[in-house]
């Protein structure tokens, strides 16, 4: 279970390093880097925090992962989750912030 950082999108702002509950993220040579992907809890705090959508979340092979990449775009009113599947298709789920879970 882990996250991956796309260095070409990362601007090295360091916001992700402030929200990782395990202090796993660092800025090294101007880019965010994770100390050890095995230590990620999968909370997606950094995925939501990144202003450039440069961090995605994926399911490791041992969790049944199939290569999809999950991005989150955070605005004042919603969290938009975007799933990019290995076949090139994209899916989007928008979760309104002012709406409670039905369950």
């Amino acid at each position: 279970m882990s996250i991956s950082i796309e260095p070409e999108k990362c601007i090295g702002c360091g916001l992700c390093t402030e929200v990782c509950p395990g202090n796993l993220l660092q800025v090294k040579a101007g880019k965010a880097a994770i100390r050890d992907v095995r230590d990620c809890w999968g909370c997606t705090a950094c995925v939501k925090e990144c202003p450039r959508d440069a961090i995605f979340y994926y399911l490791s092979a041992d969790l049944g992962g199939a290569g999809g990449r999950l991005y989150a775009h955070d605005t004042a009113v919603s969290l938009t989750w975007q799933l990019r599947l290995p076949d090139g298709s994209e899916q989007e789920i928008i979760v309104a912030k002012n709406k409670a879970n039905a369950y």
Binding site: M1, P21, N23, L59, G68, I93, K97, A100, N101
Partner: protein
């Protein structure tokens, strides 16, 4: 190494649910006190609530009373609870819920403006941003200073044993912090990472509880001489397979029953407490009737869409899995499995032995949330209430105290110890902290009732576990750290090893099986009425001393005998 000093009236160690709520309570009720909140990470997402939470699982709905809630928790724990703690917690649940709504938490309401409950004690919310709301409220508090990325290692104590602060190390830089205060609130959470997890390799931290909650508060308390309770009531979560996402949303939300591979509903054969729901899955698997599932097949597309959103608000992995496989809960039942065991005080009852004011057995030290024992099923709102009670008690205590002064000899001793740990070793080391952690988890898994043995153990196995944990503890004393981050990992390993050692003694002391799976002793398969007692412990001269205490029942209030 740089050394920094800070002083406060009240020091809060840990900025999760309980710690943040303690801070905002002190801001609202005692603006005259100087408060210092220290956290190992950044409080915006630190602790258990990092990803969000799906519901508020503890709330008293109209027609029910705090006594009902205490009765429910007592039944689930087969009587090993503190009624005084449960009642004081339950009485505060609704007030903290309203406060969270004021802070911006979205809670589902009907057209008359009443909260919509899930069952009689759960509220439906959007809990994705609950930690952000708490952290923002703390930041607005003028009398609260927040110190982040500092890992606290041990308490500072006066000669009489009272707690006068804590010391810690920087996670990012090699810095040593001395934090002195008139009163200290411990809110560091419970302990994960003691047992080999479901996925020990590349997903070793994909677990129910925060892998960054290492049990620091338990270890600090034990080393300082505090009394602990009920470590042996381990918590093991029943989760969605692989993603380790919550199952309650499916079971309670859409009414999904547990079924085995043959499609049989089996729960009635095992009972319906938290531990029995887990035990049912373990037993069905052992009997060759697995895998087990939550029966979601046939729910509507609309229900499925709502579930996808609910999971994104707390455990995105589950929604991702449904979408990646193309098999959502409407078309396929959701497989379930048990997690590895944890030591926590928010679901089960492990932690500091406290009085109703949330004072520990050490003067000046208060405890709240998962680190506080005797009060299970407190969940997030109960942790808030305990944070509030601990804050009020700590404030009252602090007012009668003078600012402590750390003796130079103590300061020198701690500085020398930390410097020594950062010195390069004379020879290339044979072992690493990560290697010893893995070995510890294997010992606990195989000999102290982990996943491998179906959570079961014997006395002989526990003796072997104790022997190996002793060996690993000795090996851990030779470890050295190259930087601040490694130093924190070294301290965390030593915390966990101490908690394992004490946990094993607790498991040995409860010579019965009061809770299936949570403490399943194969040498004593039934309940023993003589053990309707708390198993408590304290470190005395380096040895674990077990203390049996009588139950505190309805109408009784426990008081410390200082």
């Amino acid at each position: 190494m740089e050394v920094l000093d800070k002083t406060a009236d009240v020091l809060i160690v840990g900025g999760g649910a309980a710690g943040c709520y303690a801070a905002i309570t002190l801001a609202a009720e005692h603006p005259e006190l100087r408060v210092l909140l220290v956290d190992k990470a950044g409080i915006k997402r630190s602790g258990c609530l990092a990803a969000g939470v799906n519901a508020l699982n503890a709330y008293i709905t109209p027609g029910h009373s705090p006594e009902d809630y205490a009765d429910y928790a007592a039944k689930d724990a087969a009587g090993i609870v503190r009624d005084d703690l449960l009642l004081t917690m339950s009485r505060g649940l609704n007030e903290v819920t309203h406060r969270m709504e004021e802070l911006g938490l979205v809670i589902l309401k009907d057209e008359r403006g009443q909260y919509v409950s899930r069952g009689w004690r759960n509220l439906k919310i959007n809990g994705e941003n609950i930690k952000l709301l708490l952290a923002a409220a703390v930041r607005k508090s003028q009398n609260v200073e927040v110190l982040e990325q500092v890992s606290v290692v041990d308490y500072l104590q006066a000669d009489d044993g009272s707690v006068t602060g804590a010391w810690g190390v920087g996670v990012r830089q090699e810095k040593l912090y001395f934090l002195q205060a008139k009163a200290v609130i411990c809110a560091t959470g419970g302990a994960a990472g003691l047992y080999r997890p479901n996925h020990p390799g590349s997903s070793r931290h994909k677990m129910w509880y925060s892998p960054f909650n290492t049990g620091a508060g338990y270890a600090m308390g034990l080393r300082a001489g505090a009394e602990m309770t009920t470590f042996e009531m381990r918590f093991i979560a029943l989760r969605c397979k692989d993603t380790i996402a919550p199952t309650g949303t499916l079971a309670q939300g859409v009414g999904a029953a547990q079924v085995n591979a043959a499609g049989e509903r089996y729960q009635h054969r095992y009972g319906n407490t938290t531990s029995e729901r887990l035990y049912a899955v373990v037993s069905e698997n052992l009997a060759g009737r697995g895998p087990c599932y939550l029966e979601t097949e046939g729910i509507t597309e609309e229900q499925q869409a709502s579930l996808e959103r609910a999971y994104l608000n707390m455990a995105p992995a589950q929604t991702m899995k449904w979408r990646e496989t193309g098999l959502g809960p409407a078309s396929a039942n959701v497989e379930v499995e048990g997690s590895e065991p944890y030591v926590v005080g928010g679901h089960t009852a492990s932690g500091y032995w406290i009085d109703a004011a949330r004072a520990t057995t050490l003067p000046g030290l208060f405890a709240a949330g998962d680190v506080a024992g005797g009060c299970p099923q407190k969940y997030v709102t109960g942790a808030f209430v305990e944070g509030k009670i601990a804050a009020e008690s700590a404030a009252a205590y602090a007012k009668g105290q003078r600012q402590p002064a750390l003796p130079p000899a103590v300061r020198q001793r701690i500085m020398a110890r930390v410097s020594a740990l950062l010195k390069p070793p004379a020879a290339s080391p044979l072992f690493t902290a990560a290697g010893l952690e893995e070995a510890m988890q294997q010992v606990m898994d195989e000999y102290a009732g982990g996943i491998t043995t179906g959570y079961r153990y014997t006395e002989r196995q526990l003796d072997l576990a104790a022997k190996h944990i002793g060996r690993l503890t000795r090996l851990s004393e030779d470890l050295r750290a190259a930087d601040g981050y490694e130093l924190v990992q070294l301290f965390e390993l030593q915390e966990r090893l101490l908690i394992c050692r004490v946990l094993i003694e607790h498991l040995k002391a409860r010579r019965e099986t009061r809770w299936h799976s949570f403490a399943e002793n194969l040498d004593y398969p039934g309940k023993d009425p003589a053990l309707e007692k708390y198993v408590n412990s304290r470190l005395e001269a380096g040895k674990v001393k077990i203390i049996y205490r009588d139950l505190v029942k309805r109408g009784e209030w426990y008081e410390h005998q200082h």
